[in-house]
């Protein structure tokens, strides 16, 4: 381990202390039901996806090739996985990298943002006749939700392509929070409570007339259940999981005072509350021009947020029950274009995957330093999805009948043995 890493450890310890204090503050705020109090590997599992939208360059993140033609000016630093280097702009991530497996040979067939996002989100290529559910929607749909009064699948940040429930139904689609850490919109009645109550009573009475002669299809539509859930949510104590106002300033600063940093902090709070799937979006990785400047800017946001999230989850004993996936829709070309940018590249990109009881500290696959040959040990998205579902205790081979009766497997891949502890 390098000197710089040892120096960083001191900071981390300090942070750890702070975060532990945070645990006490959090658990005494009576945010939750039992789910929030469970700890360790026995706790019901959840998934956090840090979605790097636009297609992050593998060469300027987890798979640098310094000193080669394709590597450009990017330098690399040592990490806590011995013999493995990542881009120099990620010093804090380098420190906690051994919490993850680094997969450097992910391949897909889609180089368009929307289609690429679809593949990485769902494990299937877009088809005109069916909408496949995103990984988060599957996790939400398949795992128990306990006494949760807030949505069990949440999407934080202003991502362009929503994570959809597809054939699992609209209720599995992520609840979207465009500005994480800010006040949630639409949760407060627009009038005073008394007037609101009167309105609701009138609504109930007036709806009755419409139900007559139509009770069966309306009951099947879950209309009332949805309204009831919405009303329950409006007054739920658990809503505090969306708020960060009671977090110490140092914690906020460690995550980063911007939408993504706040999103990662909210993600941790939601997971702690028992939410099953959360994704946090960081936009801006589409670096067709000025790849190096833009990638560095993204790293300044991602590096502290990601490493703080991991440290925070560990300090709260939530790491073993939380799978953390860090990915985007594809990578970027080994060739540097005349605008000093890199273009779309689905033929060998990198992701980080860890937590939830998965193996850690491993590096899977490798890309060609010349950028010509296909990557070693190519890994497809369905394999990653199957691995995540398996570790979350979901039968990845399960077939679900779509509304038109077509059976589709949750994912078409098989889990990767290398991602599991021996």
């Amino acid at each position: 381990m390098s000197d710089s890493l040892i120096n960083c450890c001191w900071n981390r310890r300090e942070l750890l202390q702070l975060l532990t204090t945070g645990v006490v503050a959090f658990s005494t705020s009576q945010l939750s039901a039992r789910a929030a109090e469970e700890r360790g590997p026995q706790r019901s599992k959840s998934l956090i996806t840090l979605w790097l939208a636009g297609g992050p360059s593998q060469l300027e993140t987890w798979d640098p090739h310094p000193g080669t033609r394709i590597g450009g000016p990017t330098k690399a630093i040592d990490t806590s996985i011995q013999g493995t280097q990542i881009c120099e702009w990620y010093p804090q991530t380098a420190e906690i990298l051994n919490s993850f497996c680094v997969i450097r040979s992910v391949v897909s067939k889609e180089g368009d943002h929307e289609r690429g996002t679809y593949v990485v989100r769902t494990g299937y290529r877009p088809e005109p006749t069916v909408v496949h559910p995103s990984l988060g929607s599957i996790v939400y749909h398949e795992l128990p939700r306990g006494g949760l009064e807030i949505p069990g699948h949440v999407s934080l940040g202003d991502g362009q392509f929503a994570t959809r429930g597809g054939y699992l139904g609209e209720e599995s689609t992520a609840f979207r929070v465009f500005e994480p850490g800010r006040n949630l919109t639409n949760l407060e009645a627009p009038v005073d409570p008394e007037r609101h109550q009167r309105r609701l009573e009138t609504l109930g009475q007036l709806s009755e007339g419409f139900l007559n002669g139509r009770r069966y299809p309306i009951a099947n539509s879950l209309h009332q259940k949805t309204i009831d859930s919405a009303l329950k949510m409006m007054t739920s104590e658990q809503l505090k999981a969306f708020s960060i106002s009671d977090e110490p300033a140092a914690v906020l600063a460690a995550y980063g005072d911007h939408p993504f940093g706040r999103g990662c902090l909210v993600a941790r709070r939601l997971i702690e509350m028992g939410v099953r799937a959360v994704d946090v979006t960081l936009n801006g990785f589409d670096t067709h021009a000025n790849n190096f400047g833009l990638s560095k800017g993204r790293a300044e946001i991602l590096d502290p947020a990601l490493s703080t999230l991991v440290t925070d989850l560990k300090s709260r004993d939530l790491w073993d029950s939380t799978v953390v996936l860090v990915c985007g829709e594809f990578g970027r070309t080994p060739q540097i274009n005349p605008l000093d940018g890199r273009d779309h590249w689905p033929h060998g990109f990198s992701i980080l995957l860890g937590g939830g009881g998965l193996a850690s500290g491993r590096v899977i696959g490798a890309t060609d330093p010349q950028g010509v040959k296909s990557p070693e040990n190519p890994i497809e998205i369905p394999q990653i999805m199957a691995s995540i579902l398996q570790v979350l205790g979901i039968d990845f081979q399960k077939e679900i009948f779509t509304p038109i009766g077509r059976p589709i497997r949750l994912t078409s891949g098989q889990p990767l043995a290398a991602l599991f502890k021996a």
Binding site: T129, A162, T173, N186, R195, T202, G209, G213, R214, T226
Partner: protein, 556 residues
């Protein structure tokens, strides 16, 4: 200095007479403007001074009724299953507007409709609507999603706005549907000047036109057959094989984009990758999955395909659009999924789809004709209430036999469209003030972002989500659109109504296209007695309540 003093004193003295003049002139101006708009409106709606619709009864009414009866008859008259009663005219008017305009009718339109005394005012009103540009615009939007999907396509080469505009005009002019499709499939030249060509350019990937995408879309949109799976493999259920799909794609393969727009390369040989073939490539000839004899000998590949798709004997073509239009009118197609139809029955006209499809063809493939006939069916005009829908017993049988009008949730754009229309007493259309049109445009866009657009899944069934319920209860849209202001319907109804009953009736008509029942009036009256509120507050509360009621967001 003097001058300056005089000047100042003049400035001080003038405002008073000016205000006085304004007080006098403004109402005069507003009244004049109002009278002019009213006349313009009357002229536009074809109303005579006595409030009667000038248009005669549609001449084809009897023939529409005959065709509609033939469709209704096919379901038979099961003795054990009762048919729902006929719905009242206002309910049918609401359905009609939701299907053709995408919003509820305005209070202004309801009044004009009710002023018509003819027994066949539904047919008359449908006739009138089919001349309204709003109908062209709305149907074009819905159909273009079917034809080219919802993807943005490639910048520069794909112009959805031009395609929609062209389609809207074609629909409004009632151009035969086969001619519309032929033009989209075989169009040449620049997609800006010849907007039908955007059907092709929507499928551009990279620099190439994706012939596979076009083949899959053509089969789904125009023929109601899902052949997409055959692109990659043979399937033991499907009658289409991979070579059928490739053969179909071969018709689109010669098209390319050049400086002069879309053109077809001459003597083009279509080849696909095939690792088993010599040199890794295999030549594919033109091939259709059925009806080979309909292919003409002359023309470009795309012209041949266009002719084949729309051939008089290609019953799939008529069945596909009939099923699609039925779906748009009811929120539920005759056969589901809407784009995966069974083969046409060997015995002709043994299912409702075939009856209607045959009639559609013999009536010049007119979409206006098709809409008129669907409107004349009992199925369209009956109640959505039924004993089976109350207790669930035999509900499926009743639904399959169209024993009641199907209850379906509205699409997100219909919901915000309804809210916006209910906010205004006047009809919101191309004649509305630019402020109102912009207000509508932005509110619609923002709402869809939050509510979630259903996109291409035109006729999927939705259960609704918690965020949607929250948005409608607490969102800015509900608050703003139900607020009683001098401009809003809530505000105007609150200040213009003579009594509470008139106010409540106005709100119900604007939001739900019906009058309140006696029980509902009584209930609201009792509520006002217990908690006295101002007219404005009552109007706001009622607007909020009705916006959130299932009746508002369901087609029924």
């Amino acid at each position: 200095m003097n001058t300056s003093t005089i000047g100042t004193s003049t400035k001080r003295a003038e405002p008073l007479p000016r205000i006085g003049a304004l007080k006098l002139v403004l109402p005069l101006f507003l009244t004049t403007a109002g009278v002019i708009s009213l006349f313009a409106l009357l002229a536009q709606m074809g109303l005579e001074a006595d409030g009667q619709m000038s248009a005669k009864l549609p001449p084809d009414l009897q023939s529409w009724k005959v065709s509609a009866a033939a469709v209704d008859q096919i379901w038979g008259t099961s003795k054990t299953l009762s048919q729902a009663e006929r719905a009242d005219d206002l309910t049918i008017l609401r359905r009609l507007h939701l299907a053709l305009v995408g919003t509820v009718p305005s209070l202004e339109e309801i009044r004009a409709f009710e002023a018509m005394e003819s027994q066949d005012r539904i047919a008359q009103w449908t006739n009138h609507l089919l001349m309204d540009p709003r109908v062209g615009d709305y149907l074009a939007q819905r159909l273009s999603k079917v034809f080219v999907g919802i993807e943005d396509g490639q910048f520069i080469v794909f112009r959805r706005d031009r395609l929609n505009q062209w389609l809207a005009n074609e629909i409004l002019d009632d151009r035969p549907y086969d001619k519309i499709v032929q033009q989209m499939v075989s169009e040449k030249g620049l997609w800006t000047g010849r907007p039908a060509g955007n059907f092709i350019t929507a499928a551009v990937t990279g620099e190439e036109v994706d012939e596979n995408k076009l083949a899959g879309r053509s089969a789904r949109a125009f023929l109601g057959q899902r052949m997409d799976c055959a692109q990659c493999h043979d399937h033991f259920f499907a009658q289409w094989k991979q070579h059928d799909f490739e053969g179909l794609a071969a018709f689109y393969a010669p098209v390319r984009i050049s400086a002069v727009g879309l053109e077809d390369q001459k003597d083009f040989q279509y080849q696909v990758d095939d690792s088993k073939a010599e040199g890794g490539k295999r030549t594919v000839d033109l091939r259709v999955p059925f009806g080979e004899e309909w292919l003409p000998a002359q023309g470009t590949e795309r012209q041949k395909l266009a002719y084949w798709i729309t051939h008089e004997e290609n019953r799939r073509f008529d069945r596909a659009i009939v099923n699609r239009m039925w779906g748009l009118m009811f929120g539920k197609p005759l056969v589901e999924p809407v784009d995966d139809l069974p083969d046409p029955p060997v015995e002709r006209q043994s299912d409702p789809l075939d009856v209607l499809a045959d009639e559609f063809r013999t009536h010049g493939r007119s979409l206006h004709w098709l809409i008129q006939v669907i409107v004349q069916t009992k199925a369209f005009q009956q109640e959505s209430k039924h004993p089976s829908a109350e207790n669930g017993e035999k509900f499926d049988v009743a639904s399959e036999n169209w024993a009641m009008y199907p209850l379906t949730r509205l699409r997100p754009e219909q919901i915000i469209g309804n809210m916006l229309q209910a906010w205004s007493l006047q009809t919101i259309d191309q004649n509305s003030h630019v402020f109102v049109r912009l207000f509508r445009l932005f509110r619609e866009r923002d709402f869809l972002k939050e509510y979630g657009d259903t996109g291409e899944e035109e006729l999927a069934l939705f259960t609704g989500t918690i965020p949607q319920a929250l948005l409608r209860m607490n969102g800015e849209f509900s608050r703003q659109l139900s607020e009683a202001t001098p401009l809003s319907a809530a505000g105007r109804l609150a200040s213009l109504s003579n009594d509470r009953e008139e106010l409540v009736t106005g709100v119900f008509l604007a939001c739900l296209t019906r009058r309140p029942t006696a029980e509902e009036l009584q209930l609201i009256e009792a509520m006002c007695q217990a908690h006295p509120v101002s007219n404005a507050t009552l109007a706001e509360d009622l607007y909020w309540t009705l916006f959130n009621s299932p009746e508002f967001s369901w087609n029924h």
